[in-house]
Every structure is written in C-alpha cells, then in structure tokens.
Symmetry: C2
Subunit: 906 residues, 2 copies
Amino acid sequence: MADANKHVYHFGEKRTDGAATQEMRELLGGKGANLAEMCRIGLPVPPGFTITTAVCTYFVDHKGAYPNGVEEQVKESLDLMEQESGKTFGDPNNPMLVSVRSGARDSMPGMMDTILNLGLNDTTVEGLAKLTGNDRFAWDSYRRFFQMYGDVVLGVQPESEDDHEPFEVVLSGLKKEVGVTLDTDLTTANLKELVKRYKSLVKEKTGRDFPVDPMEQLWGAVAAVFGSWNNERAFIYRRKYNIPHSWGTAVNVQSMVFGNMGNDSGTGVAFTRDPASGEKVFYGEYLINAQGEDVVAGVRTPKPIAELEKDMPVAFKELMDVRETLEQRFRDMQDFEFTIERNKLYMLQTRNGKRTGLAAVRIAVELVEEGLLDWKQAVAKVPPDSLEHVLAPIFNFNALAQAETDKRLIAKGLPAGPGAATGKVVFNAARAEELSRKGERVLLVRIETSPEDLRGMLAADGILTARGGVSSHAALVARQMGKVCVCGCQELVIDYEKRTISVGDTVIKDGEYLSIEGTTGRVFAGQIETAPSEVIQVLVDKSLKAEDSAIYRQFATVMEWADKARTMNVRTNADQPDQVANAMAFGAEGIGLCRTEHMFFGGDRIVAVREMILADDLTGREKALEKLLPYQREDFTAIFETLNGLPATIRALDPPLHEFLPHQAHEIKEVADQLGISVEEIEEKVESLHEANPMLGHRGCRLGIAYPEVTAMQARAIFEAACDVAAKGIPVHPEIMIPLVGTRKELSLQKDIVDSTAKQVFAEKGRTVEYQVGTMIEIPRAALTADEIAEDAEFFSFGTNDLTQTTLGISRDDAGKFLTLYQELDIYGQDPFASIDQTGVGQLMEIGVTKGRTTRPDLKIGICGEHGGEPKSVEFCHRLGLNYVSCSPFRVPVARLAAAQAALKG
Amino acid sequence: MADANKHVYHFGEKRTDGAATQEMRELLGGKGANLAEMCRIGLPVPPGFTITTAVCTYFVDHKGAYPNGVEEQVKESLDLMEQESGKTFGDPNNPMLVSVRSGARDSMPGMMDTILNLGLNDTTVEGLAKLTGNDRFAWDSYRRFFQMYGDVVLGVQPESEDDHEPFEVVLSGLKKEVGVTLDTDLTTANLKELVKRYKSLVKEKTGRDFPVDPMEQLWGAVAAVFGSWNNERAFIYRRKYNIPHSWGTAVNVQSMVFGNMGNDSGTGVAFTRDPASGEKVFYGEYLINAQGEDVVAGVRTPKPIAELEKDMPVAFKELMDVRETLEQRFRDMQDFEFTIERNKLYMLQTRNGKRTGLAAVRIAVELVEEGLLDWKQAVAKVPPDSLEHVLAPIFNFNALAQAETDKRLIAKGLPAGPGAATGKVVFNAARAEELSRKGERVLLVRIETSPEDLRGMLAADGILTARGGVSSHAALVARQMGKVCVCGCQELVIDYEKRTISVGDTVIKDGEYLSIEGTTGRVFAGQIETAPSEVIQVLVDKSLKAEDSAIYRQFATVMEWADKARTMNVRTNADQPDQVANAMAFGAEGIGLCRTEHMFFGGDRIVAVREMILADDLTGREKALEKLLPYQREDFTAIFETLNGLPATIRALDPPLHEFLPHQAHEIKEVADQLGISVEEIEEKVESLHEANPMLGHRGCRLGIAYPEVTAMQARAIFEAACDVAAKGIPVHPEIMIPLVGTRKELSLQKDIVDSTAKQVFAEKGRTVEYQVGTMIEIPRAALTADEIAEDAEFFSFGTNDLTQTTLGISRDDAGKFLTLYQELDIYGQDPFASIDQTGVGQLMEIGVTKGRTTRPDLKIGICGEHGGEPKSVEFCHRLGLNYVSCSPFRVPVARLAAAQAALKG
C-alpha cells in the first residue's frame, strides 16, 4: 500500500517515487505512472512530479482544501526539479518553466488538459528570450500562456453563448489595427502590446491583476485541474462510461524543454510499430526547431521519422534504443512524444498505441513470438471486434482517399455489416438477381427489407436501407450472410416507383454506381475499388493457401489461443448448408439458430407455403404441407450432413403468416394465377392476417398451437432427415426449439406434437436418433416463469432481440425514429439492440438462468439473439454461466475471442 | 381435529356425526356436511352416511384399496339406517333402497353424480312394487337403475365416439318392436322384457352377471365415485380452477324416499328468498306424485310453491318452518330439495342459493337488518361484479324472452361494457352524431375503434366491434363512458363502403335496428326494449330520489360498509368533467388517470394538434401549441373545479402522433384545405409516421423527449389552471404522470421540464400549488429498475394494460386471433387483459413495488390499467400493498367492494 501521507510523487534522474504498477496507475493516473516508469528504466525525462488522485478526491470533498503536507511536498519536489534542470522557478535570468497537465487513469474529455510555459511573467519572459535567443518566441509563448491561463484558470470566458472569446476579441482588434490577418504576422512589439491589453482585460473581467508569482500561478493551475474533475462534461462522460466519480484525476507538473532552440532541436511523435499494419517498423514523424503543438497544428509538414537519422544521427540512435526499451518494459506497442533540446532527447509521454484490427492481431502474435508476452496476455490484448476488420473486404486505400477528395460522400447511416462494397443501385430482389446473373456487382437499396428480399440480398454485394437499426432485418441477415450493409440511412429519400435515391440535390438512378462502407456507415456516390480479406480467401474462397498468408496465420494463432482459454461454446445462426460450412470454417461448434422459415422462400417452396396459408381447412393445409415436407427434409438432410455430428438447434416456424403472402397488386395477381384462385381471395386473406402490432401478434408457437399440423410437418422433416443421415453413419443431434413461449403449457403442447412425431418416424424408419426439445426465452414472462418452463424444456436459448423489444417496449423496426436521440441524450449508454442492456434485459436473463436451473440443474442455456456476437454481451453471457453463444457466421471468431477474454478475466 | 380412524359419518334422527363446520366441510364435502347439519337442527332428513374425502385420497393413492375399518363402519351405519327407516337393505318384502352421490367441497363437473334406487334386484323390485302399489314405477326404476349402474359403474359404454349408448340401442330396439315412440308408453311387461335384455347386454359386454347383491352394488358405486375423482374432465376442471388434487370427494349414501307414492306424495325445489330480486318471499316449485327427476325433466309443468298450501297444508306449514330454520342456521339464502312421502316431509339437500347481482345486494342488506349477519360478513358475501348488474341498464325481461323465442340472436362477441342497448346501426362517428341529434338511439358498429371514433361513441347508446378484446380501445372507452359494448364479434363481416353487417345470410343495413347485451356479449336483430337502473337514476340522472328507491338504498348501504372495511383508495380513469362528476357520485376519491390526449379531439383542438404535428420546425410547433394551450387550460380548470380538492393524476401525451392525423383520402383532403397545405404534405407525414409496431414505437415519454415543447405546454396548462382554481379557494392536487418510462433518465428529463415550467408559472401567477411528478410502470424494464426510477418518481402507477402486452408479448389489438383458442386450451386460465396475470405480470409488479419502496419507503403506488376495476386484480393489488386502484367510473363501486373484501380477508 502507498503511504497515505505521501501526496506528491517526484520523477527525475535523481529520484523517482512512482512506477507503472496497477496501484500506482490508480494513484498517479496513466500519464504520471508512465512518466515515473520511464525515469525508472533510465529514459531521459524532464524532471517533475505528480500530485495524486487521492488529493483530488480530498480537494473535491473539502471544497478546494488540500490535505496537510501537500504544499511542503510540492516545494520539495520543485527544489529537486531545479537541481536537475539547473534552472530556477521564477529566476529572471534562467527561469524554469513548467507544464501542468491533468492525468486521470485514462484520458477523459471535458477535463482541463494542459497549460504550458507556466512560470512566465514580465521578467522571466526576458530570461526565456535570452535562453532561446528568440524574442518573438518568448513573447508569443507568454501571450499564449496568458490566454490559456486567463481562460481556464481565471475564468475569463464569454458571458453568453453568442459572445466571442474575450482574448480572441482583443487579438482580432489588434490584428485589425496593425493590418495583419495571420497570428504569425504579429511582430514582437505587437505581442508585447497584446500582453499589455490582456492584462487590462483580466483586470477588468476579474477585478484582479494576472498573477505574476510563479508559485501562485502553479497553485491556481493545480486547483483548476482538480476543479475540472467535477465540471459537467467530465461528469457526463464518467456517467456514460461508468467511471466512478471517486476515482479523481492526478496533476502532472513537469519542467519544460524546448524543441525550438534551433536546428539542433526538434520534437515528434512516434509508434514503436506501424499502428496500421502492425509491422515491426519504427513509425512516426518530427519537426526540426519546433514545439509539440506545431506537429499537431499542421502549419509545417512533419518529416517521416526515418529521416531523423540523417538530421540528428545521435538523437535518432538514442530514440531507437528508447523504442526497444519501451517495448521491453511495457510489453506492447507504444505511442510516445519526444522533444530534442539542443541535441538532447527528452521523453514527454508514452502510452499503449491505438491500432487497426489487422495491427492488433499481428502485434499480439509477434509479441508472443518475441517472448514479450505469453499467449494468455496476448489473447487479452486483441479487441474482439478487430477480427471483423481482418475478415472484411475493404476499399482500396488510394481509391477511398480519392473519393474523399472528390467529395463523393453523400450520406451516413448505421454501420450494420462490416466491410466495403461498390455496385450498381437496384431497388428490388428481381433486378438484383437479374444484374447479378449478368456478372454485375449490385447494391440492393430498400426503404427497409423483409424476408421477400432475401434472394435479392443474396445476389447483392451490399445492402443499403433508409430505415431500421443495426439489428433490423436487413442488418441481421446481412451479417449472417457476411454482406456489407449500411442501414437506417435516414437522409436518403427512396422512390420505388421512379427508382431513384435523392439526398438533397443529388439523385441516383437505378443502375448507377454507389459505394458503401459498412464499417463506418458511409455512403459514396460512384465506384470505389475494393479488396477481399486474405482470411476469407483462405478459409472460404480457398483461393489462397494458409502458408501464403501471414495475416491468416496470425489470425489462426489468435483463434487457437482463444479456443484454449474459453469455456463457452460458440455456435452460429445459419440456415443454408453453405452458410453452415462457412461458419464451421470460422470455428462454429454447431448451429444455435436455424430459422426454418428462411428455407420457405427458395424455389417452389413459397408456392406450397402460400397454398397452405390460403387453404380453407385442415385438409387443404395438410395437402400443401405434404408438398412442403420433401423440401424441408432435403434442407435438413444437407444441413445435418454438413454439420457432421455437430448439434443443430432448429426453430419451428416463427414469423407471422402474412410475411409469406404477396402485398403488391401485381404480385398478388401473379400468385392468384399460380394457385388458380381469385385475387379477391388473396386480398381477403392478406386483410384478415393484417395486425396492428405483428411483433406481438399471431406468430411463434402461437402458430404451431393454432396449426399443430405445421409443427408436425416440420418435426417430421427433421426426424426423417436425421434418420436418413444417421443411416449413412453420420451422427446427428437435432435440438428442436419452440419460439415465443410465455407459459409452460405452450411448450408442452408443442413438445407433445414433436415427441409423437418422433415416435412415428422412428417406427417407420426402424431407427432412433437422440434429440432434445427446448424453447426460446424471448418474452419477459418466459424468463419470469423459467422454473415452470424448465419442467418441459431440455434447453433454453435467449432470444435477446425480442426480449429486448419487449422488456424495453421498443420495436426495433421503429426505434430509428428516436433511438439516435436517445443515445445522444445518454438515455441508453449504447444501442440496446447491439449490446445487451444488462441492467434491464440482463436482470431478466439472470432470473431465467437461476429459475431454469433451480428446476433442472444441468439445463443447457445459450443465446441466439444478435447480441451473441457482441463482445460485451458475450462476456455478460459468460458471467451468467451460459453454455454457449450463437451468432452470425462472420461473428463466430469475434465471439470465440470474446468468450476467451471473459474466461481469462474470471 | 377429526378422529383419523373415523371414515364414515352417520346422519339421521338417532345419531349425527358430522356438522357444517369448515373442518367437516373439508372431510364430508358440502352436501354431506349440510345433510348432517340439517339433522342436527332437527330437520327431517332420510338417514344415511358420508364416507370421507380422506378415504377418497387413500383410495386414489392405494390403487382402489380402503383404509381399515371402512367396511365395518359402513355396515354399522347401514344398520342404523335400517332401524330408522324401518326397512331392510335387500329385504324382498320391505327393501331399503339408497341413493349414492358424490360430494366434493363444491360441486364439480366431470365427477360421477348420482345413482338412485340402489339395492334393487329381481326380488326387491317386487317389494318396491308392493310398497308403492305401482308395478310399473317399480320396474321403470329398476331398468333406470340398471342402465345408470351399467353405464357408470360397470362401464358398459359405446366402444367408439360414433357408436350409440348400448342401453339406448336395446331400449330403441324394443320400442320399435312393440311399436311405441315414448318411454312412458312402455308397459310393465315391456319393462320386464327390457330388464331381461339389459342383463344379457351386461353379461355380453362385461363377461359377468349384473350384481344382484345390494352390498356388492353399493361398494361398486362407492368405488366408481372415488374413481371418478381422477377422470380426465374432473382433472382438467381442477387444474383450471386451482383445486388441489389432494382434496378428494366424499360419497353420500342415503335411504331413498319416494314422492310418487300417490297424491299424498310429491317433490320440489325451493329458495328461501327470490333469487332474482332478493325479496324475502318463499320461491320454488313442486310436483304432486312425482320424483325429483320429473321436476327437472320438464315433462310435467311444476306448480308454484305457494299452491302447496292448498294441496298439502301440513307439509306446507312444515316447509315454511324449514325455510326459517335453514336461514337461521346457514345465515344465507338457501336453495333446497325436498320430497314428501305419504304426507311426510323429507329434506334431501340444501346449499347457498345462486342469485342475481340485484338479489345479492338486497339479501346481504336484509340479512344484516334481520340480525342474521354483521356488516363485515354481509360485505364479504356480495360478489363485487354484482354491482355492475345493479348499475347496468337492462333489457326488459319479456321483450328479451320474446327475442329469444323469435330466434333473433344472430351472433356472440365478448362482453365488454355491461348493460343492454338497442338502436339503429351506424358505421361512423358523424352519422352517429347526426342520428343522435335527431333523438334516435344508435349503435355504433366498427371493425375496431380508434380515438377518432370518440365523438361517435359518446353519441351512441352502444358500441359493437368485430375486432379487439375486452381491453381493446372500444371496450376501454365504453366502460369509462359507461356505454354498453360488445366487442371482438368475429362472426360479423362489416363493410364500411356498403354500410352493411353480414352474419351468414343475415344482412343488416345502416339505419336498421340491432340490440346488444354487454353483460353476455349477445347480439340480436331488431329492437328490444330496455330499462335504466334505479341507482343510475338516483346518482347520475337525479331523476329519482334516494328515498324512492329501495335498490339504491341497499346499494348505498353495501358501499358504506365497503368503505368502512377497505384500506386502499379508489380513483377513476376519467378525462371529462362530467365523467369525473359521475365517478365521484360513484365514490371515486380522485382521478388515477386523466388521458390528456382524449381532450385533443374536442372541437377546434384537433386542428391545432394537426397543425403541430405537420409543422416543419420548433417555431411552427410552438405556434400550434400556443393555440392548444388555452383549450387544455380550460379542460384542466373544469376538472380541478369538479374534483374540489381531490387529487388528479394527469398523464402527459401518450399515443403515437399518427393517431391524430386523418388516414382516409377525403379526410386528408378536408384537413389539407383546413390547414392550407397540400394533400401530399399530409400524406408524406402520415407515411413518415407509419410504424411497424406502433405499440412499441414513438409514443409515451419518447414524444415528450423528442418534442419537449409539448410537455412544457401541457405542464403550463396544468399549472395555470391549478393556480387559477386555487385562487378561487378551491384546493388542487395535480400529479403529473410521465408515460412509458423505461429508464430513470427519461423521467428525469421530463421532470426537469415540468419543474421548470411550474417555477415559471408560479412566478407569473404569484402563487404556488403543491404537485407531484411520477411515472407509469408499464414496461418490464421500468419494474426491473424501479429502484433507480424511484429516485426521481414521487409516485408510481402500474399501467397494467401495456405491462401485460409487453410482459406476455401479446398485442391486445391482435390477441383476438388466438386468445380464444388459448383460453380453450387452458394456456391462460383467464383473459390476462381482463384479470392480472399474477404469475407473470404480477411478479414484475411485486419487483416494482419492492424496489420502488427500497429507494422511497413512502412511495405512493397505484394502478390505472383496466385491471384496476376487476375484483381478483384489486385483491392482488391490496396484497401487494398498493395505495389505490383506479378504474373507469362505472367500475368504481365494484373496486370499492373488492378492496373491502380484500382487506377483510387479510
């Protein structure tokens, strides 16, 4: 434990109190801990100190008072800094200047960030001028310090939202007077005049003079940082990200060094490896004779870091050593800032570098190869969503840059299916198939999609909708199919009749090109060249060999580690043999959700389905079901063969029947002709099946209960297929799942039909296969009465899509109208259809698990909602003790990794 | 405690073991306990005994074996019976015959009921012939006994569903042979031949002879009764009504007496008071020289009981004494059976009589006046729903009978608004108002209703819909308005264009008469005369004085008792001053739900509402809201004045906006002209507001969050009205309720608007009124996070309509398609939209109450869903510790009584 009376942690060459341990990180913040650590491992860091987060908490709780001893400890540390720097705080001839920075555990928006050059006043500014040999720089630094300090510490701010920044007003006035437009055109004399006017401004606004005593300046800045911990923006941010208010922030005070002391000075930022590709090359940029803010400001163009070798060979060599030392110590790719003052290198900050998904995978694998990490540490370091980047087709980098330059970005929707796609715009399934057959790439554009669009979605390279959220039908199917998808792009006005999309003045017609980026939701006019991912080429296309793809091998390594670590199984939501095969290539250990109704749309099936729905009586329905039986049997046979012994959870018919009927006049006419009945008959049926709220209507097991013959047909198809496949020596494990159950009785009625059908089929086939009957838990009442339902259910599968809709009372199809606003207002921290609402829906899941296992301790429980492939949700499922998660094929690797990380955390 | 070794309880003149205590009722069943009790109080009961329910349980658990001692105890009791009756079981000359009846705690369908004349065989039948002096009767009794015993005890039953009853086949065959059509035309000789053939039949079907030994017959019958406890129908019935299977049934064996021994004999059934009116008059009927089954069979027409005085003065006097004795003992109106054998009266059964609602109230009040009950006992005896009968207009009795005779019943829907109504059929609101203005009575007939129909519903005498359940919009509004309503009448084919209703071949046109009975759901063609209830005439119409209506005074007495007993408050759901006044007349203690949107449809309001919805921006909306403000203020002023200090819970705007827009082409045109905008603009808005599942869409607080100015306008109207009314010295207690809250944040955002508006208005008016802000708990997440929500909520009100829809995942508007089937299949014991689903929805309510009060121990909690007026739900709310229930005005008395009974139970 840290000493409770130690409030100030010094870092420097002579003494360093802190370190980058977990405990110190909490006390000193990430920045302070890493500065201390760099000192410890002998890196050149300008001396300084960190005032702890505990002081912040005390400060907040005691209305701005400090604990005993802080002042003395600060003084003591300043003395040490003066000794190390050879400069003196407030010395007019050789002034030590300091930076003051906040330092929470993680960087946090809304907090006061940085004050540079603290210690400047009318006398020390002259000392700085002498030290740097640059009058103008010294006075420019002074007026900047004045401006920043005046704003954030003294509170000289606009009085209303319509007012301009007061310092800016003074600055603009002066520039007008002297006839210049750019700040850089101001002379030293101008800057001196400016400081004079700033002084008057401060006096006028605050009634007091600007503090000239460096110590007074310092304590003012420290109080401002601590005070900013409780400002509104920081408060909202913490609430949003569940950061406890009690954490507090640290304050880092560090002696200033200057990269602008001539051509033997400079400043830069660098990464120990390439953050885009992950390659182990030194990556970064620098400026000669410049300060850090110049690199960021973009006034001068920085040079690539490699060139530093030529400009400053000694500093460069030193930097290469630093790079090595940092990685050895932090065991991760580092992102750091440095300054070279008169050929001497100083490190100002280091932290773990942000990286692309590709880089995350490569770096994790290579750090293990280099012996810096063991596999468990490495697997914990890869954000699961990274894998999606590894799998997704992408826009060619240069082509994308060109499109941006050409301002072809026309709209932004929700990122629903990752990757990038470009193709000709079509507005319906038939046209998508038509163009696709001709070898054209197509983008299917719909206001929203329905099961009728499935064939079109299959034919398209990408899907773009104007309505629906990230778990709308379009998004859900797109991800399952691995299609690129942007949905809920509300700016688009889609006119089916005219076959046009309008956005403002832009109109895109049927057959014109559009490009969408499902990773960001961006929509571009025209074509942008794409490239498929190597992993897909190896696993799915088989167009690339594993040994020829480093990315694939790295991906495979991470997956192997994940499988070693995880305790939950990962299944897939799939209903076509090729989808199942893909999912298995991605590591799926069975099917968690086979939506039988998706099979209803293929070929002649839909005719028989419609015949069934339009039948007047049981006899008519049974006749139509007889036609459907062989199709369904065929489907299941192919799936069981593909699975080769892995389990398959097959859901009985779920959607409301009207989804299978045509709704457009010409389609109705066509179907009427096909079935030899009148248009009126179909219209009447469509009308009679119309529902005010179909989501809560006649669907799920309510269909099977009204039409037991449908359940019987489906059960028969499953068992006949299972027996046939088993006869070939291939093991089968069907699990029949009854949807939308709210009471035990519903399940037991359906289970009776399944069981008696099994008995019949087994007798006919002279063979028995093992099977289970279970249920979705997807309406609140099912979770609340899980103990009763578990009497009959051999497994549960949480259908969190519908469970979220009912628990929150939000239709995902309509949520687009207000969910964006809700997220802006921080009503739901995140889209509850993307990541499980653990507070609400999660409570019901917990009740369901607890009650279900009270009745049946070994109850198998999984999840098959879209959340099953979302890392935070997967972790939550692990904590709840679920046996498996199931997700769309392309999310399987993500789920495997998330499950591994959850297990390692536990 | 009863002696565990006593299995048989004798009753008779000499000894009676049982009594009508609660314990004995459990052991002997209702019938057995009451038979014993009648013996105890000296009434003439033919001797007999009861075998206990404990024996039944033993019998069921031990595969048909009896506990030790049963046989001896039966033998002992039979001996006693023989002594008392002076006859001997099996004596050919003076045979004692017995009846064997089942006797559960309450009568239960599916159980074996009665075997009469047990003990008959070829020799005793001659003894019976001699005793009765009636050969034919003796042989007819014998063949009937044979038939019944053969069927239920020996199991001689049809072999398949298509077969006829075997005994009936033999009987028909014989009748054909001898050339008669009626059973009564068979001679004694024919009957003897019939018995002979029955014997062969039994031998053939069972392989054994019909038992001739009376003891063997007796044990066979006892076993059959016990066995029937577990037959399927009884099992299903018990599960449906939650009767424990462990209760078992008792068996009553009683010596037979004969009412057909000549003109000094007879039989009858009687009530101690009139079960229709409750009047204290002797009520019943009898037949001279007949057996009980003759009264029921309806072959002869029984005479009114009063005439017995002339026919048998002695027996009549005795019966009048019996009537008095029974009421004194059972302290309730009794329904009893008697037989007179040769001038001697025998009591065969007594039980509490079923009665109409009117009678229930009158009897309860009069029993207290007579000193037979105290007020608490009386208040517990009136079924709360009875009060609805007391309030409802009714069909004139004779007119209804005539309509039935004329076969004018054309369909049956759901009983949604009690009472009876007759009027001309209209299909829309405008026509309803038009005819109503002309003084015509109208029935509004709609496929389903929406808020647009409100004015039409107000103008109509009754409402009939083809779709929607008992808590559909139509039903809900009808009950609130006190309108007669039949809804979900699916047989009706309603054609708005042709303005017709078709049911099969019957077609009813606009303007033709129809009559509906909201108490039963029946729909009749043509007119049926109605009569208003006296209570309404006193309380609402004021057309009758309290002192002139006995019914009113009795009703008021019961209400006074109820108010003394109950601990929960009762409020009303009302939004018009006259509704509020009515509800207060019915005893409402405030408004529990004022739906502000109902006010949006009156007069010019709807124009401003539409203007607001169609506005492009905030300025446009605010302009429209300014027009709406004075209307709303007016509405609230009138309501606060009417309430005169009672609290009013006012709900902010709830329904989706599209409900306020026109949808038919001609309406759209009209509105476009009215607002001076294009038809296309309205169509576009309607399209953009269209939702897949409006119930889960952009409504409730989601509107107030998207359009804070709407909440602000409503809050302003409420506070301005409150200040104005308070200025007149009338106290006001507004409670502002935010609907559809799922997270604390939603509530706090809306509460901020309400609070800041209050502050503004109070400053403007120079006056402060107390108010509260709370929320509906109507989606599962709100209940699950009630602890968080209670941080901001000053009260909760359970919106059980929506909570039921979301918890069960059932849209009440669409439930008609399967909920009937679901009730038939016993999936939900009762309609969850009528009575709270305590297992599912109830769990969430309990969580909500517990969590809410954890945060805020004094949290006021009520219910404003339709369930608030349903007795079982009211009892549940009492058990949960709710502060009040709120229901439609006409249900207020029902809720008061139900709350009282719940409090008395606790």
